[in-house]
Amino acid sequence: MRRPTTTALVLVASAALTLSACGRAETDGAGGEPQTGTDVAEGAADGTITVWAMGAEGEKLPDLAAQFEEENPGAKVNVTAIPWDAAHDKFTTAITANSLPDAAMVGTTWMGEFAGLDALDPLPENLEVDGFFEGAQGTTEVDGTSYGIPWYVETRLLYYRTDLAEQAGFDEAPTTWEGLKEMAKAMQTEAGAEYGIGLQAGGTGSWQTVMPFAWGEGAELTDGEGYTFDTPEMLEAVEYYQSFFDEGIANKSAPAQPTTEPDFVSGDVPMFISGPWMMSAVEEVGGEGFEDKYSVAKIPEGSAGSSSFVGGSDFVVFKSSQERDTAWKFVEFLADPEVQATWYDMSTDLPSVQSAWDTDALASDEKLSVFGEQLETAKAPPSYPTWEQVVASLDTELEKVTKTGADPAEALKTVQQQADSIGTGQ
């Protein structure tokens, strides 16, 4: 087209040129030494703080906060509930525009990114918060510095149909890799299952099912310097995972949106690996009495024991907070074992503080206590800001491994290369 377009282009280009005079400052100063926040003042909290929390937690938190306000008459907590959908986008834009609340619940995998954005206040040393599950504690630590507390946790277990297992000749859950595969095969041959076990055939989030096996073999995802995917332990786990698909025990062409619950209830796929929310989900589909037809078990042991993935949410205080002391005191309150137990009653979110599991409600529930056991050895991925991007390439390669029978060693090599070129982002 004619001249006017050229004029517009020139305008844009010159604007870009004038801006381009600036360059990146050398270092951000954040890296290096582990930090702790300055001490929080003694005494009761006062002042008003704003807190963000997602979904159902955001809805129920005000009731818990009322208890905090009762204990600290001068303090007021305003909770804003935000939807899980796009919550991450809301946080990053708020960080950019400096319009953050005082404290917030955040997803465990966002910690590295937010700390890298210099938005989080390091945990003050004189705060009385401890006794968390080790893996959960790890989610709050970025480069040696702890930025907040694990608020509640979840982990992944093996779900299996007890009635069908019996039919297949098993009255106990498998504890070894071979045992798991044998049982899955027997489910197909003896108990009429279409597939022995439901495993995600690669794609988004499939690493959460593969890593429990790799961790059980003693795999480490980082050596402190960078990512380590191309290791014998990882290879062991990926080969094992692939064998389920190669031998037709798991479905390699399952739809993107799995039908886990109905398949479990019908017995078509009588085993799968998932988190605590699946208990109510399968019971809703299964109807009355279904809770006696299935059970949960720890992830079968590799040579280094049983491990799993630990998820959940952390609670942080932002650097920009004007009421920092009150915000941290609120966090301290949330980490109190009794408050954690109360919170379980209100929300059914599993406590991150180990001693909170001694209360009746949790200790008496057979299935829940297995989650408690698994949490002791469950692990979290490294909290590098680039983790989500790196793991996306692992998910993509896992899809090739499970669906097209690609070589696991090659796949891990590819992931390693991509991880190296992306870097840790710290």
Partner: protein, 274 residues
Amino acid sequence: MLGSRKQQYWLYGVLAVALVAVIAPFVWMVLGSFKTTGELRQSPPTWWPETATLDNYTQLFARLDFGGYFTNSIVVATAVTAGNLVFCSMLGYALAMLDFRGKRALFVVVMTTLMIPGVVTFVPLFVLVANAGLVDTLPGLFLPFLVSPFGVFLMRQFILGLPRDLVDAGRVDGAGELRIYWRIILPLCGPALATLGILTFLGSWNNFLWPLVVAQTEQSYTLPVALALYSTGQNSTQYGLLLAGATVVVLPVLVVFMIFQRRFIEGIATTGIK
């Protein structure tokens, strides 16, 4: 009318089959909002609710301050729609019927921005709105969307299709350009304004990400943001709540569509371009 009786029957038959195929998901959405979560997870899915329940709706309304969110949504969508109808038709008329310096450049720039994916300007736009102190205000929700390149393009294309004689006749009668726009052109734009109105209202009504980010307290949430609050969890989705919410969001849009649909037909009758 076109064609014979027989042709008409055929056409009705084809359209009826198409209609059933086309509205099925909508019907399923509405029916699904009366099902329990357990039933929604069943496979294969059911059509009729086995045990119809109002639980999803009672839960939704018990948990939400519905009136406030509804008002916010109405204010924002109405402002955005009004802005687009007025400002875009003004420029559309100028681009279609008038000669002025910079006309071509203006059109090219407008068309150019129409092609830039929205996600890329999201962050700079939010920083701008935040710096202007508009975060957590209703103007912050609607100001950035009062005009759209799409609206200009639509109005320009429609006005191009109107007889040019109308403008010339107006000039001969001594009417000014603004008067021609307001008195002669705009009344003829009924169908196009109805179309733009429907599309703009719908887009603004369903907008999720922008109000989520700009609204910092629940007082300025719009309906889609509020309805998303409890339906999606960290690891699971409550389909019943989700479908009930989607149904609630869609109802006002259906009403708007039906109103504008009538304007559509009036447009045919009043313009006289039969």
